[in-house]
Symmetry: C2
Subunit: 411 residues, 2 copies
């Protein structure tokens, strides 16, 4: 069975939210046991798209193309796919009606020059959406190509109503590949391989391997079977022992990021949290509040970049900062206690460090970060030294802080 | 000339910082006028990697593979590349020494089972790093494949010292493609196409096209020429008129995100900013503080999820919240003024809205967001209605807030 390939038409070297739509599609397919072989951002260029799409069709599986409905990206997709499928572009009256209706909803007539958007490769099937732009699908060289409108409000409806059933049908025919990913924190790849020695490289209904993702070790359990039921049973049989070997270093499964896991622990325990961030600049609060329902346990947060802000907002004594420096264990501890006090919360997360590229010293080089975590178990402070650029240091600091809070809540 | 393809070996459907390393490599190449055709995350699976790498080699250009040095990802890359190049894997004594030195730096001996990491396809050239794991390069089927260690501290040194010169050499031989991207805010694709009608679809030394990236319209100017000097001259000749047509809706060029542009404006004007975020939960502060040197103009920020936090930290009157609701124009305005007051800054950004999926009402459906911006030009509040899921609403809210501050600073 070939995994699905997802191609987003855009700018390969620049992105805002990076490939959020491609990720969302990949996760939806994964939930059905449909493996995703690759997810790419392809330059909005006819040659680049043809070079990427041509080989993707050869596999004979499912290819998803996410393209902006306006602009020139959609034109390129239509032309390249028609050429690869060896068919002509024909005007779809039904699509023209839908485009006109979409314009009308925004109080406009469809401009003449946008009528070209109703051109589709001959044989393409429209995938309509409840109220918005449709997608379309085409059989080409034995593969099913689904073209979905990027950034459209109805993208998730198109995925649910059309793509997921179509991909399940194709994937089901050749057998099912179910994957379970065990995510860990605080473990090196070498340590994980040692603990997983009984399973790594062994034949069996479930294959176990170690991946490294953003510096974290993730353990993958892969079950290939003729049916979903058999694959599920194999994962259920093998999973617990592997997870046991990882102990509390395994923080979650599949899409369970640290912010999801920490949020669930806070809800279970009826606790809430306040954040006090210096070098992470709001990243921890941003990640915690990405989770639906987080308003129940995120009380407030402060971003205290200046020393004055640390004193004003968190009550960190100016003397303490003078004596130890703003990047120090005593200040991290005072920030964590201050976060709890101002928010009236049982938990507080505090981060102060040097994200770089400037500001380092021989005693405290760039990447030095102190994390303080307050919880009903007490206050803990740890010193870290992270590698990489500014954003990498911010990310690793946030991971360390969330993981410390998780372990404190489990204690 | 074929654009470079970048492949990161990982998990296509799950990511933490998504493909940060791939993006960094793409941007470094772009700075040299080397076009990037695609950037993909390929599943850590031998079949998936071979299906992606095989066709990538056919183009005869440069292929960059980012793979975790530990774990099984590196093994798969070595095996697949040796097979595609038709050579054997041989033990590199030099690489073995470097691996042992890397272990020694972390106070350990190299475990026997990690000696396999010193296997390389015959003919591979080591790319050494100042102090850390090396990368390697292989000529295969006419393409140059560079394999770099993902998440390694020395990745950027390897890119600078080895990849950039090698990619420039290859790209230079077939001519240069220079790209200039004009990023806009507050413009629809249809509006942009109308304003750019004199250039779109016209033949000439520079090709102009409209892309849509994360809901924003970006205008691409592409100059292909035998030499860098000719391509640069063509861009310099064509750029200003196109930018003029976009007016102040064009906020930046290439990698100039809104946080970069706003940061530069604040520095130029000697102003600083405080943030007050409800539904964005710290995203604006996080983005502003991603920029090196932002401590000079980011004073502080608060994440005020609860009503009490809005009153305590920003002095928003509880009566005002009761009368209008926390998601309202008067509260956004009071938050912006409060941010300036507590931070003692001339500028304040405030955001309050309903990110969803719950919390909407007929009058204020999910996606309703009020942004308040205070600056020396006064206080402005705008109401928005954004589409998409929770993270998409957060992102668009942050974009709108940063763009409003930018326009206020330009006024």
């Amino acid at each position: 069975m070939t995994g699905v390939r997802i191609l987003t038409v855009g700018v390969a070297e620049l992105a805002g939210r990076d490939d959020a739509a491609g990720l969302a599609v990949a996760r939806a397919l994964r939930a059905d046991g449909v493996p995703v072989a690759s997810r790419a951002v392809v330059d909005e260029d006819e040659g680049a798209l043809e070079a990427a799409l041509g080989p993707a069709l050869e596999g004979g599986g499912v290819v998803v193309v996410l393209a902006p409905p306006g602009g020139s990206g959609g034109d390129i997709v239509r032309r390249v796919l028609a050429r690869l499928a060896g068919v002509r572009l024909v005007l779809s009256d039904r699509l023209l009606d839908l485009l006109a209706a979409d314009s009308a909803r925004r109080g406009r007539a469809l401009p003449r020059r946008l009528e070209r958007l109703a051109l589709l490769p001959q044989g393409a099937q429209l995938w309509t959406a409840p109220d918005g732009l449709p997608g379309w699908a085409l059989e080409a060289r034995g593969a099913l190509v689904a073209v979905l409108p990027l950034d459209a409000p109805d993208l998730s409806a198109l995925v649910e109503q059309h793509l997921r059933p179509a991909a399940r049908d194709r994937a089901g025919a050749g057998g099912v590949a179910l994957v379970s990913l065990l995510r860990t924190a605080g473990v090196s790849a070498a340590d994980a391989e040692e603990r997983l020695a009984p399973w790594l490289g062994k034949e069996g209904p479930v294959t176990v391997s170690c991946l490294v993702v953003d510096g974290e070790v993730w353990v993958r359990l892969l079950a290939r079977a003729p049916s979903r039921a058999v694959a599920e049973a194999a994962l259920i049989a093998a999973g617990p022992a592997v997870r046991e070997a990882l102990g509390t270093d395994c923080y979650g499964v599949d899409g369970e990021s640290l912010e999801v896991v920490v949020g669930a622990l806070l809800r279970e325990r009826g606790l809430s949290v306040s954040t006090a961030e210096s070098c992470t600049g709001g990243l921890v609060a941003h990640r915690l509040t990405n989770i639906p329902g987080s308003s129940r346990y995120v009380e407030r947060g402060v971003v205290v970049y200046s020393n004055e802000a640390k004193t004003d907002l968190l009550g960190v004594p100016a003397d303490l900062i003078r004596a130890h420096g703003a990047v120090s264990a005593p200040v991290a501890e005072a920030m964590a206690r201050g976060a709890c006090r101002i928010g009236g919360t049982a938990c507080g997360v505090a981060i102060t460090g040097i994200a770089g590229p400037d500001g380092g010293s021989p005693e405290k080089p760039v990447g030095t970060v102190f994390v303080g975590v307050a919880s009903p178990a007490g206050v803990e402070v740890r010193r870290f030294r992270f590698a990489g650029g500014r954003e990498a240091v911010k990310w690793q600091s946030a991971q360390a802080a969330l993981d410390m809070l998780r372990r404190a809540l489990l204690a």
